[in-house]
């Protein structure tokens, strides 16, 4: 058990992996420590100052739990009056600086700031004394897949770190300083003009309503599947609502992509429910397509194929179709039509 560490958090005995932070150990144990800028996929920065905890020792000290590693025998308290006071002030400052029209926010009920505020609570009198940000900033809706609302941004930097650490694209960064700090691409232009590849990894990780998917509809359930574009074979979870795919999430359990997706994988699903989908067999009559039922179409095709068995027949298979589809088609070509004239676009 050399790679395990035993510690105490709020009087509970917790076993953690060596190298884990206090925050990770606590969250795994089900102990909530308020946090905003922490994300399990990213390096900690300790900017939000909410995850402060008290560590007992020769000198009892207050430290941020997202960056402090667990040590054997460590005794941690996550809720002392002193810490709570600091947290409460931090939350009030964030709320005063935040667009609080929550019901109109796409992240309502999923928002980490709501969760933190709910947990910490606020001193309403003090909060009332704080001044709201004077001018509202315009929402950047230039990207076709997502919006950026700076009025709901808490500058946790998760999007910046995602783009840098996970994508290595670094399309956005912090710009300016102090109170004027904002998340911006080169030249502080619209997101559409940034070097952004619209993969949506930052949208997924945004803890608040600053980055939200456009026309987002909440799925009723998810179905595990695989992306149908390129050969990476990314595992994905298709979000279903009624008879439509309404959103897509990366599948963390898939070894091919470990939850990550590109722009096509995440947003390209919309072709499935396109109005242009073929919905009925078509037979060309006098140069024009006429809708037909399956029996009529299949009979017509079968009749023709029966006359052209052997080398007069060929099939082109699809690298988009399933392995099972392909198996059946080549079996059909070989066993039923009696020819090896089958190929697909493997070379293209």
């Amino acid at each position: 058990m050399a790679d395990k560490v035993q510690l105490t958090i709020n009087g509970l005995s917790v076993t953690a992996d060596k190298g884990m932070t206090i925050l990770e150990a606590a969250l795994r144990k089900g102990i909530y420590i308020p946090h905003l800028c922490h994300h399990r996929d990213l390096d900690p920065v300790g900017a939000c100052r909410l995850c402060l905890v008290e560590i007992a020792g020769k000198w009892t000290k207050i430290a941020i739990s997202c960056k402090t590693e667990v040590t054997e025998g460590m005794v941690v308290r996550t809720e002392t009056p002193e810490i709570n006071e600091m947290r409460q002030v931090a939350v009030e400052l964030l709320i005063a600086d935040h667009d609080t029209d929550c019901l109109k926010c796409a992240r309502n009920t999923q928002c980490q700031l709501q969760r933190v505020a709910d947990h910490v609570g606020v001193d309403t009198e003090r909060l009332a004394r704080l001044r709201e940000r004077e001018e509202k900033q315009p929402i950047d809706d230039s990207n076709p897949f997502f919006n950026f609302d700076p009025n709901r941004c808490v500058l946790c930097g998760i999007c910046v770190r995602t783009c840098d650490e996970i994508l290595n694209i670094h399309a956005i960064d912090f710009a300016f300083r102090g109170l004027k700090t904002k998340i911006a691409g080169f030249g502080d232009k619209s997101r559409l003009e940034a070097d952004c590849e619209s993969c949506g990894e930052c949208i997924v990780r945004c803890p608040v309503g600053a980055l939200t998917e456009k026309d987002y509809k909440k799925p009723t359930h998810y179905v595990k599947s695989v992306c149908s574009f390129c050969g990476c074979g990314c595992g994905m979870r298709l979000g279903v609502r009624h008879d439509q795919i309404v959103s897509v999430k990366g599948d963390i359990s898939s070894p091919a992509n470990r939850g990550r997706l590109c722009v096509k994988g995440r947003y390209g699903f919309r072709f499935v429910n396109s109005d242009e989908r073929l919905t009925s067999p078509l037979i060309k009559k006098d140069g024009k397509f006429v809708e037909a039922d399956w029996d009529e179409a299949l009979d017509l095709v079968a009749d023709n194929f029966s006359k052209n068995k052997g080398e007069k027949f060929a099939a082109i298979a699809s690298a988009k179709a399933t392995t099972e589809d392909n198996y059946v088609l080549q079996k059909f070509t070989r066993a039923v039509m009696g020819t090896n004239n089958i190929d697909h676009c493997a070379r293209l």
Binding site: P144, S274, L278, A302, Y327
Partner: protein, 539 residues
């Protein structure tokens, strides 16, 4: 594919995608990975971040170059001399893996002899890459082991694509970078299930599992399994099928889920062929440009409306699951084909569903023998997976190669000129590439947002070439080849080397493949779409 099958015994990626993360060096040649395989590109960048050396070889300055330690900007179609030149440096410097060559390879001497023609002066002259860069790259590749090579259509879509692939496998064999974790030769397969389609024998010469149709034992095995008599003649390849349609030798063409009017090289010719086909059945999800030419169109479902499996580029078999009911009256492809078979009074097509089909696949395909839906429910499997208790195979050739002798085969190569020659009438080389935002066109062109992000075809042209022609950024130009003409907007950029222009082929408004050349690789029959002589004119 044909190349690797000869030299290594399997045409697939030798390693798992994840293993790229553990490579000490990576050579990315003929692949614009960030656009074509974005998630694999992330792995490459991860590897670089954790210290791997990256060599990028590409005529164009692609995004991956920012992360490269060495960027080899070789002229289009000069991959063989570049790679052979690297091999020669490795041998001259004594960096080869002698034990590996002795114990696991054959035909080394003939290969070694053929290297004589690739001295650095010659290679520099042909490829346009400075010698010191070639030496640097060769040393990195040979010394930073395990080394992985990734490549894509930039290697295969040439009239001598097979040679290119063999040059790659030579390099890997020479340095012993095969048969172990994070070391190998990795063709990144384009389509989501191109691997599965190949595995299933959607190829004219093999049954499922790459069992050649011309080997009598294989024929006998499948005749027994399917209860019918089978042809012992290899069928026609894709391009030949089109020619046969054109010549009237093929009367009926059953075309599933492809759009050759846009994606085929020399698309004008392909369209002609389809028009001349007596009876064309197209089975697709949209009424695309090809379906317009059909006699009968059968509406298929998308991946979201059916069960099945896809096999990705790293040979990983993964479950596709039905999420919604078929749209309208569409049907899964397997169902449609089975219905046709039943109407033709065939037996063996009354599958209850995809799971039953997979059971039959497992029974006739050795590399899929251990794969079943029950196992896939628990997780994915990489073939070969020959038995129910086999865990699957992350990397190939661990013990021996899949060739007849079990040895890796070196192949002597010579330099052959790339595809089409340029001349005074067609003085520029057109090479095709792809956009991150589109996959071919049938599906992505129907997603509004993707068309906002990438809305039109652009001809990438070097500032020097552009100013010579009086072409300005953003203006419309005419591009003509010996086969066709298109009009397109010019984008002046030094991403493209002088003398070379590039276009994607996602836009039906600008059918790039009207221009491309369908001269084929003599072994694999892959068209050489990456090198085609064109002329650009100011409109």
């Amino acid at each position: 594919m044909a190349g690797l099958a000869t030299s290594l015994g399997s045409g697939a990626m030798t390693n798992a995608i994840d293993e790229l993360g553990g490579a000490a060096s990576i050579l990315a040649i003929g692949t614009n990975t960030t656009a074509t395989h974005p998630i694999i590109a992330l792995k490459v960048k991860d590897a670089v971040k954790s210290g791997a050396k990256l060599i990028v070889a590409n005529p164009k300055e692609i995004d991956l170059c920012q992360f490269a330690d060495v960027f080899l900007r070789h002229k289009p179609g000069t991959d063989v001399p570049l790679l052979m030149g690297m091999s020669k440096v490795i041998l001259d410097e004594g960096l080869e893996d002698k034990d590996f060559i002795a114990s696991r390879c054959e035909d080394f001497d003939a290969f070694k002899e053929s290297l004589a023609a690739f001295d650095l002066d010659t290679v520099e002259k042909i490829t346009g890459v400075p010698q010191d860069k070639i030496v640097e790259a060769a040393k990195i590749y040979a010394e930073q082991s395990p080394a992985s090579i990734i490549y894509c259509m930039g290697i295969t879509q040439h009239v001598h694509g097979t040679d290119n692939v063999l040059a790659i496998s030579n390099l890997a064999l020479l340095t012993g970078n095969l048969g172990k974790e994070s070391a190998g030769v990795n063709p990144l397969r384009g389509q989501n299930n191109v691997q599965g389609a190949c595995d299933m024998g959607s190829l004219p010469n093999v049954y499922p599992g790459y069992q050649a149709v011309t080997v009598p034992d294989n024929k006998a095995k499948f005749e027994k399994a399917w209860g019918v008599e089978l042809s012992d003649q290899a069928g026609l390849t894709h391009t030949r099928i089109f020619d046969a349609c054109h010549d009237g030798n093929i009367k009926s063409l059953y075309l599933v889920g492809e759009n050759p009017v846009l994606s085929e090289a020399d698309a004008g010719h392909a369209t002609d062929c389809l028009k001349k086909t007596d009876f064309l059945v197209v089975q697709d999800i949209f009424l695309n440009e090809t379906a317009e030419l059909a006699d009968v169109v059968l509406p298929a479902t998308t991946f979201a409306e059916k069960d099945g499996t896809f096999t990705n580029t790293e040979r990983r078999v993964q479950r596709v699951r039905k999420a919604i009911e078929p749209v309208g009256n569409s049907k899964p492809d397997w169902w449609i084909t089975c219905e046709l078979a039943k109407r033709l009074e065939a037996k063996g097509f009354d599958f209850e569903g995809p799971e039953a089909i997979m059971d039959e696949i497992a029974s006739v395909t050795p590399s899929y023998s251990g794969i079943s839906y029950a196992r896939l429910e628990k997780g994915t499997l990489q073939w070969p997976c020959p038995a129910d208790d086999h865990p699957g195979t992350p990397f190939l050739h661990g013990e021996k190669f899949g060739t007849d002798t079990g040895k890796g085969k070196f192949k002597p190569l010579e330099y052959r000129k790339p595809g089409e020659d340029i001349d005074s009438e067609y003085p520029l080389i057109l090479t095709t590439d792809r956009s991150l935002y589109h996959y071919h066109s049938t599906m992505t062109r129907r997603v509004y947002g993707l068309n906002v992000l990438d809305k039109e075809e652009l001809l990438n042209i070097h500032p020097q070439d552009a100013s010579g022609l009086g072409v300005e950024d953003g203006q419309m130009v005419k591009v003509a080849s010996r086969r066709g003409v298109v009009e397109v907007k010019a984008k002046v950029t030094d991403n493209c080397p002088e003398g070379t222009v590039s276009m994607t082929f996602h836009f039906s408004e600008t059918p790039t493949n009207l221009l491309t050349c369908c001269e084929l690789d003599p072994v694999s029959s892959t068209p050489g779409t990456k090198v085609c002589a064109v002329r650009v004119e100011n409109l």
